[in-house]
């Protein structure tokens, strides 16, 4: 059976809208999670990620649309199954650990609710805590645990649920490598049995791109783009998506020809051939995305260095060019003084849809570098 058959999906969200007093927090969203897959919901706060998770978990009924889990409809506007009857486990934002229960009893809770007796439930819970390397904390209450330990208990409780869909509601701290490994291993194990998936809400692009098999971009409750991490990073649908998924320079130039994955861009009056594409080549300038790795210092083009910031393994250079400001990331410390003319090369572009937003450098990471660079006028 091909992987995209609906029967292979652990979660199907069909045209889902969730409204609070007339305001749609989730607005006609369609998406699905396949078996063994982690889908990240990436969006700024207020974009509807948590609401979408609430509707999937059963904390909120949909206003319109349907939620299907494992090929079974669990929610539509007329009827919503309660959370305990859905095959989902939730890791909460601040973990929502019960202050009156020890770590062991917390993890044993879902096992007990499955009908296990106290003793076997505790044994199973201890085994899960052991996998997360916190078996020695079994008797502690949440108040006696550090943030990272609380996160592990929260995840252990979710794992104990043995659900086919794991929901992560923006965990406050990133999952560390070990915790992430345990979770992904669990998905692999469960995939061989019945199949399980994850839905991970976050506002952090780096975490979403690094963790997920596919990423869904949400803005104001709407699904903006859905694709692999590589796709949403390299081929964002618009300027907003480009800024959300990583450092992005948005410049303007004319793409005069495109063929077989390469295209010609007019920069400083020259035609430069780079990797990229264009829907309709022509003489008009269009907004183009340049990721930090798609341009480098040295070469036939020249620009003026507006700001340079040392970032440890690499340095960020903000170069003012005839196309606009371009962020170039180079290994090592900055090699040029701010204000110098520097040579540079463009190697790749991605045409963006024309939007009302003006061109320039987008993305939180970059605007910080930019503003710092501008105020930083002292000579190096």
């Amino acid at each position: 059976m091909p992987a995209d058959e609906p029967a292979q999906h652990v979660l199907d969200v069909r045209d889902l809208t969730v409204a609070y007093g007339g305001v749609a927090a989730v607005d006609h969203v369609c998406l699905h999670v396949r078996r063994g897959e982690v889908l990240a919901l990436l969006g700024p706060s207020g974009s509807g990620k948590s609401t979408l998770l609430s509707a999937v978990a059963g904390f909120r009924p949909p206003t319109t649309g349907e939620v299907w889990l494992q090929g079974r409809r669990v929610a539509d506007p007329g009827r919503a199954e309660p959370p305990e009857r859905r095959d989902v486990a939730v890791v909460f934002q601040s973990y929502a650990l019960w202050p009156h229960l020890s770590a062991l009893d917390t993890v044993a809770y879902p096992i007990r609710r499955r009908g296990a007796r106290r003793r076997p439930a505790r044994e199973e819970a201890l085994e899960i805590l052991d996998r997360l390397r916190i078996a020695h904390l079994a008797d502690r209450r949440p108040a006696e645990l550090s943030g990272g330990e609380q996160q592990r208990v929260g995840l252990a409780r979710a794992l104990a649920r043995q659900a086919s869909l794991y929901l992560f509601d923006e965990p406050t701290a990133h999952l560390d490598t070990h915790v992430r490994g345990v979770f992904l291993d669990e998905l692999v194990v469960r995939r061989e049995a019945s199949g399980a998936g994850g839905l991970y809400a976050t506002h952090d692009a780096e975490e979403a791109l690094g963790l997920a098999d596919r990423v869904a971009l949400l803005n104001a409750g709407r699904l903006v783009q859905l694709g692999t991490p590589e796709q949403v990073y390299a081929e964002p649908v618009d300027i907003w998506a480009a800024g959300l998924t990583g450092p992005a320079s948005v410049v303007r130039a004319a793409v005069v020809a495109a063929h077989g994955g390469r295209c010609s861009v007019v920069v400083q009056g020259h035609r430069v051939t780079v990797e990229g594409t264009a829907a309709t080549p022509g003489r008009d300038t269009v907004p183009l995305l340049v990721r930090p790795g798609w341009a480098r210092l040295g070469g036939e083009l020249t620009g003026r260095l507006r700001a340079a910031r040392f970032r440890g393994p690499h340095s960020d250079h903000l170069v003012e060019t005839s196309m606009g400001e371009v962020l170039i990331r180079e290994p090592g410390p900055p090699r040029h003084a701010v204000g110098d003319d520097v040579p540079w090369t463009l190697s790749r572009i991605w045409p963006l849809q024309e939007t009302a937003a003006p061109g320039g450098v987008a993305g939180p990471f970059l605007s910080r570098a930019q503003s710092r660079g501008r105020s930083d006028s002292r000579p190096r």
Binding site: P61, E84, V88, A96, W98, Y109
Partner: protein
Amino acid sequence: MQARSTDLGRRAAVLAVGTVIFLLVVLPVFRLGYVVWTEGSTQLDEVLGRPGLGEAVLNTVLLAVAVTVTAVPLGTLVALGLRRADVPGRGWWRFAMLLPVLVPQFVLGYSWTQAYGRAGFTDTILGLVWPSVLGPWGVWAVLVVNTVPLTYLFVAVGLATRAEPNLERAARASGGDPASVLRHVTLPLLRPSIAAASVLSFVLTMESFAIPQVMGTPAGFTTVTTTIYRDLSLGSDPLSFVEALTLALLLVALTVLVVIPADLWLGPRLRVTRVANPEGAPIVTPRGAAGRWIAAGLGGYLLLGVVLPLIALVTAAITPAVGVSPSPGNWTLDNFRFVVNARNAEALGRSALLAFAAAGLLTVLGGAVAVLERRRAGRVMASLVTVTLVLPGSTLAVALLITYGRWIGGTLTLILLAYLAKLWAFAHRPISGALDRLAAGEMQAARASGAKALTAVRTVALRPLAPALLGAWLICFVTALHEVTMSSLLYGPDSDTLAVVVLNSKELGRIGATAALSVLLTLVMLLPALPLWVLIRRLQSPRHPRAGGARSLAHAR
């Protein structure tokens, strides 16, 4: 240099407030113990052998147990029910559930007798009489109606601060059905709040006076407080006086017996370290029949418990005499004309003066302790003030009487002192709670932005504290206006308050006049209370409820 002078100022403040507490509470209670010890030791056997004394003590304890085991589960049910989003008119019910406390206790008790007693409202209209409304069952029922708002409030606050929605969502998402979540998560989280509500309900019932006096005494049902009142106001032999003193001491001993173990157990538990942030909204269920049933239940409860009795009271006030049909043709304002006279106007003036003075002073005193308790030296004071919350009014009145009675007995000053001692904790708790919620960083940020200490208080702290300060004032004002336990023991020829006038009018058996006075007293209280309450609500609500978009809207529910 400046640090030393503020330190000195703080010490002076601690000393001053400490002296006031000592003079108002500690000294009188010790004096009471001393007098009972010296004068009572010879007559103690005689006193303890008096008929009816053991019965009064037993009645008091049984009543306290009966009210607690009814009012606490009821209050918990109401709090849990009102948390469901599908109850129609939820915001209104939350307000309405607190209404019974706005009605003075003896007015509520008297209204019940007018509603359900012989020749009462239901008797006249439907022929339904409930003779035992006078006696233990009636006292129990009205005390429950009067206590449920309190237990509801305790549990509702516990729900809001302890049972975060996400903790319950986590349990549901772990496979727990609603009943299991209630048992394993919600109720364990609420246990300290429920226990605190139980202790308070027990103690307040033990020291309640107005309702047992109005509904129990006519049927021969005595409690410790009504016996003290009888001994001091009617008894003329020295033995009665010693009995009153002994009972006053016994009452405080019984209270301490309950409060101290409870405080030892509860103290650490009520200070639970909070782990998660308050997040998430309760689980939303589609509108169903359950919400309507809850609303109907609350409506029935309020109708029978408060509304119908108050209608009966108003009817009695506008009916010329007992036995006259309460039909519109017979309505008259004669009862009001009868009670609106110079004497009662003076009493009203005294009541208002006392209530205003007490509320103003108490807000200052409560605020002072709330500020000072943040330092080590002030903590003992805060504990002492909290103890006065459970110090029975009768005990306090008797203690103040024998300590200061020879100088200021029968004056308004003594009554004012009693109010200050008894209600200090009422003012202290809300202000202290508001100070706790004030983020420390906010004041520091103001100081770091160049504000002096007082400027920082005025510009940054006063606005978030305003609802608590106004609330403290309002609680003290309303309670002082209601107060009859201490006033009825302490008033003199020219210092009776309106509440005492109503009580005496009732003792004289003037039904129409008592009803008219009760209506007037309730109206006088509502006059400043309602606008202030609206103001407090407005101050509490966030300025721009819609600013945060859908997320904050969801949280607001």
